[in-house]
């Protein structure tokens, strides 16, 4: 148990450190922008208003609101204090909604879409990869080139292709939104049915893309393990094939968990862009809307939330990894 405590302690330490670094980066990067964001926002809001005094008043108001007239470290403290209370200010493009309100309504969609999609894609990919390595022959010959090709289709590309085939031509699934546009989110059968039918295409586009990459990785790991000495020795001892495959699968699986932890950031990036294609009401579409409208508080908050989500998933995967691979914990004890 002591080993685990040390392992988790170290992980938590890193988690906190990375979190702090992420917050700092999120604070500093937009502020390095050569143009003055407050000025551009003022210009936009003032519109055709030529009254210089009024424009100056608006400018001052927003300077106050953002605190850009304060010294940098005070701005940072204020940013942290507000962020802890979940206050990211007001959105410009969807005024008078607050940024946390917008993100609050989008985050559920993104988690409900991406988490199951990535898990299903990962599981299916690993099973197919292991099967390909074990069966070889025809299955492998067909599956591998297909997987390799699929894994190289960008997520947004897969999204567009699925949308056009199943949404536009076959008309078996709706092509945009998270639910029918004439509905108001509420708990009823009709609404749930609508959500599910809108869910299919984005879900499968993410699953299909991740299956390919995982299958390719799992196959080469499994082949590597199948050629290992312990497999030959076990065969020699006459241990049942099924049991050996179990060992092989478990050993090949471990690097795949690390792989998932390392690639989760990239995968979410791709999946967020896929959301845009379907106008799915999640964080990806929110981000797109924010970029299009130059909604600076919203962009900053969205990126922070995505970073935190990735951090949490990575952290959880690290913890799971510690449990399923005793060697990791052992390495920490030494």
């Amino acid at each position: 148990m002591k080993g685990y405590r040390k392992y988790f302690g170290k992980k938590i330490f890193w988690f906190v450190l990375t979190f702090v670094a992420a917050v700092i980066l999120n604070f500093i990067l937009p502020r390095l922008m050569p143009a003055d964001p407050v000025a551009s926002i003022t210009g936009k809001l003032a519109g055709g208003n030529a009254d210089a005094q009024a424009v100056a008043r608006i400018y001052e108001h927003y300077q106050e609101e953002f605190g850009t007239n304060l010294p940098m470290y005070q701005q940072f403290l204020r940013f942290c204090k507000n962020a802890i209370h979940g206050n990211f200010g007001l959105s410009f493009s969807q005024y008078p909604r607050s940024v946390s309100d917008i993100i609050g309504s989008a985050i559920g969609w993104t988690i409900a879409l991406q988490l199951p999609a990535i898990i299903v894609g990962w599981l299916l990919g690993n099973i197919l990869g292991a099967l390909a390595a074990y069966i070889r022959k025809g299955f492998d010959k067909v599956l591998m080139p297909v997987s390799l090709f699929l894994s190289n289709v960008p997520a947004f590309g897969m999204a567009v292709v699925l949308l056009v085939i199943f949404g536009v031509y076959l008309k078996v699934a709706p092509i945009s939104g998270g639910y029918a546009f004439d509905m108001i989110p509420h708990l009823s059968w009709d609404f749930i049915k609508s959500v599910i039918s809108h869910y299919q295409l984005p879900f499968w586009s993410i699953v299909l893309v991740s299956i390919g990459g995982q299958a390719v990785g799992m196959r080469s790991m499994s082949i590597y393990e199948l050629n290992a000495d312990y497999v030959k020795y076990s065969r020699f001892l006459g241990i049942k094939d099924r049991k050996i495959v179990g060992y092989v699968f478990r050993n090949a699986m471990l690097p795949q968990v690390t792989g998932l932890a390392l690639s989760i950031g990239t995968m979410i990036g791709g999946a967020l862009v896929a959301e845009i294609i379907f106008s799915y009401p999640g964080l990806g579409s929110t981000m797109y809307a924010a970029v299009t409208a130059a909604d600076y508080p919203l962009i900053s908050a969205t990126t922070l939330i995505i970073t935190i989500m990735v951090l949490i998933v990575t952290f959880l995967l690290d913890i799971i990894y510690g449990f399923i691979d005793p060697r990791v914990k052992a390495a920490q004890v030494e």
Binding site: W14, L17, T18, A21, A22, L25, N26, L29, P30, L32, M33, P34, A35, L148, F149, S151, N152, V153, P154, F156, G157, V160, V161, L163, V164, V168, I175, V216, S220, I223, Y224, N227, L262, G265, T266, I268, G269, G270, L272, V273, I276, I277, M287, Y288, V291, T292, I299, S300, T303, I306, T307, V310, L311, T314
Partner: protein, 415 residues
């Protein structure tokens, strides 16, 4: 070296990837020779012209004609001018007249017309049909009769006194050789939403995107390699510090950093080269990680220790005793960086954070334009599908090359 190359080119996977990539590169260089000019030039006024060969109608009427009597000409003409809408309307008429059409195929022009001929009766007004609809069917019938009788088109020009003077008669049996028409434009992939030649744009965009990938890959590999070498070889505090930074940048998604930085730079400052550099700056972490672990395994080899004892400088040890051993690894990492750089550009552009749009097309920008003008919902497949295919093929070929190299240098992975 020669031996390694021979081995590499014996790997079917590497060769496969290499051939695809080379074909893309060659197209990129050769196609502009046949079709020179600015890829962003707007040649069409409308949006999304379909792929095909466009013949100038004006020039075609001026060209010398030949007479052919082709048996299927009339039928083709009818089939082409009978729109889906007309076909649906005809079915509607049959239904209104309560005629049994259970074995009628809507796409079978012959059967449909025969049925129409037999059953259309202008004097009968089907039950419940409005007057406007009855007139519509009369017009439809007239145009069908016109098409069948094959009347003559008359080209007229304005004479000196402002009257129309007949200059040419065109009959249904007149043909013109496309070589004899002064202006024929083939657009294999049609035009995009701005009326640009998609194929020309695509070739140019592929070039730019590959350049972006190469630049991003180079930046990422140089940073990753230097950090990995220093951390792995020096160890101690340098290692701890570099790994600290690397770990942070591994967990914070590169995509998020890309968005923040690209947004901060602003649209005007974002040239293709700037975007590529930013992509490189956010993507080096895993190169650094893997180079470091390779170097650590090399650090205590005899030949490195010997070099150290001989008093060789740090730079020399790294360049002559360590780099050659991880060179194959670095090449593979570089290939993957190029491929992910191209993908990153495409994703950024789709978000509206790509290179500025006025100078060069990139694959991501083309995709972004196609989506903005809803090419995917209005059936203009040529505006987005070739782009997706090219991105996929580039990244497929690079990954195939990488897998091939991996199998050559890691014998345990060979099938």
């Amino acid at each position: 070296m020669k031996n390694t190359l021979r081995q590499v080119f014996h790997s079917p996977k590497f060769v496969g990837g290499f051939v695809i990539f080379l074909a893309i590169l060659l197209t990129m260089f050769i196609y502009p020779l046949f079709n020179p000019g600015n890829p962003l030039q707007q040649i069409g006024v409308g949006t999304f012209a379909k792929p095909g060969t466009y013949v100038s109608l004006y020039d075609a009427t001026k060209a010398k004609t030949e007479t052919f009597r082709l048996p299927e000409a009339a039928e083709n003409r009818l089939a082409a001018s009978l729109t889906d809408e007309d076909r649906v309307a005809m079915i509607e008429y049959f239904n209104a007249m309560e005629i049994d059409i259970s074995d009628l195929d809507m796409d079978d022009t012959d059967a449909l017309l025969q049925m129409w001929e037999e059953n259309y009766d202008p004097s009968v007004r089907p039950k419940g049909m409005t007057g406007a609809r009855v007139n519509y069917f009369k017009r439809l019938n007239n145009s069908l009769q016109d098409l069948k009788s094959g009347d003559t088109l008359i080209i007229a020009e304005e004479g000196e006194d402002g009257e129309l003077v007949e200059s040419k008669k065109i009959t249904t049996t007149d043909y013109v050789n496309t070589n004899a028409v002064a202006n024929v434009k083939t657009l294999p992939l049609g035009t995009d939403n701005f009326g640009r030649d998609v194929l020309k744009e695509l070739v140019s965009a592929t070039g730019t995107s590959i350049m972006i990938g190469l630049l991003a890959g180079t930046v990422a590999t140089i940073i990753g390699l230097s950090f990995g070498l220093l951390a792995g070889y020096l160890g101690g505090f340098v290692d701890d510090f570099i790994m600290f930074i690397t770990n942070i940048f591994t967990v914070i998604p590169g995509f998020v950093l890309l968005i923040l930085i690209s947004y901060s730079i602003g649209q005007e400052q974002r040239g293709a080269a700037v975007v590529a550099t930013v992509i490189g700056l956010t993507g080096w972490t895993w190169t650094a990680r893997s180079v470091r672990s390779q170097v650590i395994s090399l650090r205590n080899r005899d030949h490195v220790n010997l070099s150290k004892l001989s008093g060789h400088s740090l730079l020399r040890i790294i360049l002559t005793d360590i780099l050659p051993y991880i060179a194959s690894y670095v090449v593979m990492a570089f290939i993957l960086q190029v491929s992910s750089g191209i993908l990153a550009e495409a994703q950024l552009s789709l978000l509206g954070l790509g290179p500025r749009t006025t100078e060069v097309p990139t694959l991501g920008l083309m995709m972004n334009w196609a989506m903005l003008y809803s090419a995917h919902t209005n059936g203009s497949w040529w505006a987005y599908f070739p782009v997706i295919l090219v991105i996929t093929l580039i990244s497929f070929s690079l990954n195939l090359m990488n897998t091939g190299l991996d199998q050559v240098f890691n014998p345990t992975l060979r099938d």
